[in-house]
């Protein structure tokens, strides 16, 4: 089967053609090796990062932005969101602080991406 997809690894957005006819996965159209890896991953088990926020008490803003330190299976996004929503932190919070480890059993950690100082 021939499938067309847009590589999301970087903003170049290469248009990839993925041929799975012969049982293997043949990728054309990528300007770099990341595109091949992305297409293979996307066909076998698509992975994504997510960004959201966590409540903070006693800081200059009511929220601190967070992301995952590594990608998770696409199908696990809402399970991870549910876990992140249960958390409330107290200021200060700093970039890189680990907020949840192995969130929802995905092996990925939730890390802060903003400095929220006490105020």
């Amino acid at each position: 089967m021939l499938k067309e997809m847009t590589c999301i690894m970087c903003p170049a957005g290469c248009v990839l053609e993925v041929d799975t006819a012969g049982g293997g996965i043949v990728v054309t159209g990528s300007r770099c090796p990341k595109g091949n890896d992305y297409a293979v991953q996307e066909i076998t088990n698509p992975m994504r990062n997510i960004a959201t926020s966590v409540l903070v008490k006693g800081g200059g803003l009511p929220l601190v932005s967070v992301r995952l330190n590594q990608v998770i299976e696409k199908g696990r996004i809402f399970a991870v969101m549910d876990e992140i929503k249960k958390v409330t932190l107290t200021a200060p919070v700093h970039i890189g602080d680990v907020i949840l480890t192995n969130v929802a059993g995905t092996g990925s950690d939730v890390i802060a991406t903003k400095n929220i100082e006490k105020c």
């Binding site: 997809m5 847009t6 590589c7 999301i8 970087c10 903003p11 957005g13 248009v15 994504r48 990062n49 997510i50 960004a51 959201t52 926020s53 409540l55 200059g60 803003l61 009511p62 929220l63 932005s65 967070v66 992301r67 696409k74 996004i77 809402f78 969101m81 970039i95 991406t113 903003k114 400095n115």
Partner: protein, 412 residues
């Protein structure tokens, strides 16, 4: 009035990168003036990842990307003011700012315009209908969700397929809202392909091309919008109207460089970019006033804003560090019909530079040709070119030195 060698208007990514690079070039007497309570600009609310791939070779969220530059500014002890709004710049570079401490004035050796851009609103589109609450620009909705912990609504229609609208479609979905669809008046999306993929397709949010909102319903709160197909002239087609009940309409319909202060200083604008006309030094039509970042031309990627500002800073450092010499005669840079614009609009052929441009419509298998006095001096093959993706072409000075006219064309 205080003297300052360089005053930078705006502490977002453009202003921060300019400040750090100016310091690296040996300039010490720098002041950044920022109207918000903290540095970072719009990146503070852009919590999604994908920033920094070009500049840092890793993928960061907006706040992390901004913090890297803020740390560099603070490490060097570069002066900055927050909660301070510049209200006027004169053509002889007197900068007037207002804060709770009162009015302050600076006589600047050079001024860097790095005020960024604003969103187009419902009024810019003249959408008919009532005026209920629940109609937001995408950046406003993003500020509510990511900075203030307020959900703008539950059932959302998005008009326009700009990147911030796509990002907000995903963000609102993750926070439990239902996004009914994204409607784009043009026959192609205006956001980046990767955002169509990871923000819409991942969450099965439909994208309706050649559609627009033709009516807004509701009295105090939005009750719904009527959407219609449009023809090739972007005019609504009768009998194609569909009503979507919703409580929120998010507009992602374009960004406009914020140039009120530039106009006050007498800076000439380009009608195509809505930003200043600049030369290869990023100097505007007013001596000693320079511009870079989204106030000059709306960028897709912050990495390119930083790089553009660093190029600007090198020119500004040369400008303030030397005896004023007369500007050389400029070579105008013109564009062919398939290009929307080119920046800079004037060059000198004195140093290597980067030309930024956008195509007017999606093109495949085309060639960008640079001609000096009618003779082709550089060709760049493109497999595809999209209006959503800025094209940047490095140009060696020797290719254009001594020319009377330079033209950029797309050959299809």
């Amino acid at each position: 009035m205080k003297e300052k060698q360089v005053v930078i208007i705006g502490g977002g990514p453009a202003g921060l990168a300019a400040a750090v690079q100016l310091f690296e070039e040996g300039i010490r007497d720098i002041l950044i003036i920022e109207r918000e309570a903290s540095l970072g600009g719009i990146l503070r609310q852009c919590i999604h990842d994908g920033f920094g791939l070009t500049r840092f070779k890793e993928t960061l969220s907006g706040p992390e990307y901004a913090q890297r530059f803020i740390d560099e500014v603070q490490k060097r002890g570069i002066d900055y003011l927050t909660d301070t709004t510049v209200i006027d710049i004169s053509s002889d570079r007197i900068v007037t700012a207002s804060s709770v401490q009162g009015i302050s004035q600076y006589r600047a050796g050079a001024v860097v315009l790095s005020m960024g851009c604003r969103e187009r609103t419902r009024h810019a589109l003249s959408i008919p209908g009532t005026r209920p609450s629940g109609v937001y620009t995408a950046g406003m909705a993003q500020a509510y969700v990511n900075l203030h912990n307020v959900m703008p609504g539950k059932e959302v229609v998005i008009l326009g397929s700009g990147d911030i609208g796509l990002i907000m479609a995903r963000r609102m979905t993750l926070e439990g809202a239902q996004v009914l669809g994204v409607f784009e008046i043009r026959p192609y999306p205006s956001g980046l392909p990767r955002n169509i993929e990871q923000c819409l397709n991942d969450y099965s949010i439909p994208l309706h091309l050649s559609h627009t909102v033709v009516d807004i319903h509701g009295s105090s709160r939005l009750k719904g919008v009527t959407v219609a197909k449009v023809n090739e002239r972007c005019e609504p087609i009768a009998k194609t109207e569909v009503m979507y009940p919703c409580d929120t309409l998010i507009l992602s319909v374009g960004l406009i460089p914020e140039n009120e202060l530039s106009l006050a200083a007498g800076v000439a604008l380009d009608q195509r970019t809505k930003g200043a006309l600049v030369d290869e030094d990023y100097q505007t039509s007013v001596d000693g006033i320079f511009a870079a970042g989204n106030v000059l031309q709306v960028h897709d990627l912050v990495d390119f804003v930083s790089l553009e500002s660093e190029r600007l800073a090198r020119s500004v450092a040369r400008y303030v560090g030397r005896l004023k010499k007369k500007k050389p005669a400029g070579i105008p840079v013109e564009t062919g019909p398939l290009l929307g614009y080119v920046v800079p609009q004037q060059i000198f052929g004195e140093k290597d530079l980067v030309l930024s441009m956008r195509v007017r419509r999606p093109l495949e298998d085309c060639t960008i040709e640079l001609a000096a006095d009618g003779k082709c001096v550089k060709k760049v093959r493109m497999k595809k070119a999209l209006p959503a993706e800025m094209i940047q072409i490095p140009v060696d000075a020797e290719l254009v030195k001594g020319a009377e006219k330079v033209e950029v064309n797309v050959i299809c």
